[in-house]
């Protein structure tokens, strides 16, 4: 799905649910990705494994994956932007018309029902809905110390009360922060809140190790990336500490400077009717 400038246009889940073609393209792409094996780098399990098991390359709270020590800087926002872009390219390999949708957990609909219907309906006819769960590869004992062996399975969720999701007021307070580090820390906490809300005590979204295998992960992170974009529109596209610019976003061949302008990356966010 591209706009007149050739940019991929990312839309909200709620607007996608109004368009059969957009929703079908997403189901088609995710279903095909989920059918690929864990060692196929175009596939669902491989892509999710970059974030959690077995690669653990994600950035959260000033740390990479399972590393012990916190660093003096945090590449949470730029790393996940590069990660989403890579994932979107893999999805387009399966269906060229697809674009990642964002889940606006502050919307009136989300505050009433929580996870959007398109992502919570378990079955489409007789088949599993590829937006409701994703495959998790078999975890072999000893590959990650402390992680128990488990057979291949599909992700689960245990969401909380929808009224406990972050509100538009919370988001608008964070969007008003002028310093990138402050903004990143506070937005990351909202991100942490939604992971915990969706996963609950037993669901996969609540843990770094398995969150990326749940399809709602990508819609959640698309919302986070969109909020960073909205913050950039207000406070400056290049607004990161100068020493961040050249930092690499492994395993992607990109630096922080490379991911600041989403138009250069080839995508755009649609206008939304929400309050931010």
């Amino acid at each position: 799905m591209a706009n007149g400038n050739g940019l991929t246009l990312r839309k909200s889940v709620e607007s996608l649910e109004l368009s059969a073609s957009g929703l079908n393209a997403l189901r088609d792409a995710y279903g095909k990705m989920q059918a690929l094996s864990a060692d196929d780098n175009r596939g669902w399990m491989y892509m999710a494994g970059v974030h959690g098991f077995p690669q653990f390359q994600c950035w959260h709270g000033g740390r990479v994956g399972l590393s012990q020590g916190a660093l003096a800087y945090d590449l949470f926002l730029p790393w996940h932007r590069a990660y989403l872009l890579n994932f979107e390219h893999a999805a387009k390999d399966q269906n060229a018309t697809v674009s990642l949708p964002w889940w606006d957990w502050t919307s009136a609909g989300s505050q009433r029902i929580g996870v959007p219907v398109s992502f919570s309906t378990r079955k489409l006819g007789k088949n599993p809905n590829p937006l409701a769960s994703g495959p998790v590869p078999e975890v072999r004992s000893g590959r990650v110390p402390g992680l128990p062996a488990s057979p291949q399975r599909r992700t689960t969720r245990s969401p909380g009360d929808p009224s406990e999701l972050p509100t538009a007021d919370q988001v608008n307070t964070v969007l008003a922060l002028t310093d990138f580090v402050d903004f990143s820390q506070q937005l990351q906490d909202i991100h942490d809140q939604v992971h915990g809300w969706t996963g609950g005590r037993t669901g996969d979204m609540g843990t770094i190790v398995f969150a990326g295998f749940d399809p709602i992960f990508w819609a959640h992170h698309c919302m986070i990336d969109r909020l960073w974009y909205l913050w950039q529109l207000r406070h400056g596209v290049q607004n990161v500490p100068p020493d961040y610019m050249a930092k690499p976003l492994a395993p992607f061949a990109l630096t922080v400077a490379d991911v600041l302008d989403i138009h250069r990356l080839g995508y755009e966010y649609a206008q939304a009717s929400s309050s931010h």
């Binding site: 906490d189 942490d192 915990g196 843990t207 190790v209």
Partner: protein, 100 residues
């Protein structure tokens, strides 16, 4: 902080050292806000460092109205049920109030 299990909420109260998971989240009870921990889902050899901040301008103003001494109580709350909480999840290198 403890991050081995699933994510959890940590509620911050000012001048309410007896606060627990059942304390109402209201200004009258010193509630300043919450932060959230995204669980690793896999044990680490020891608790890993993480920096968290809570914006609490109104709560700090109220807590310092009559005294410059402020106690900070952090209550971890696990799961959907606020009564389902566990102790020992956190230890702090430092806790500070930053004025900007």
């Amino acid at each position: 902080m403890e991050q081995a299990g699933p994510g959890y909420e940590a509620r911050v109260f000012l001048n309410n050292p007896d606060a627990d998971q059942n304390t109402p989240r209201t200004a009258e009870h010193g509630y300043a806000g919450s932060f959230h921990v995204y669980g690793l889902g896999v044990p680490l050899p020891e608790k890993a460092a993480i920096q968290k901040s809570v914006m609490a301008t109104d709560a700090v103003r109220a807590a310092t109205k009559d005294s410059s001494h402020v106690t900070v109580t952090v209550v971890p709350v696990h799961g959907e049920d606020a009564s389902d909480s566990e102790g020992g999840a956190m230890s702090f290198d430092s806790v500070g109030i930053v004025l900007k």
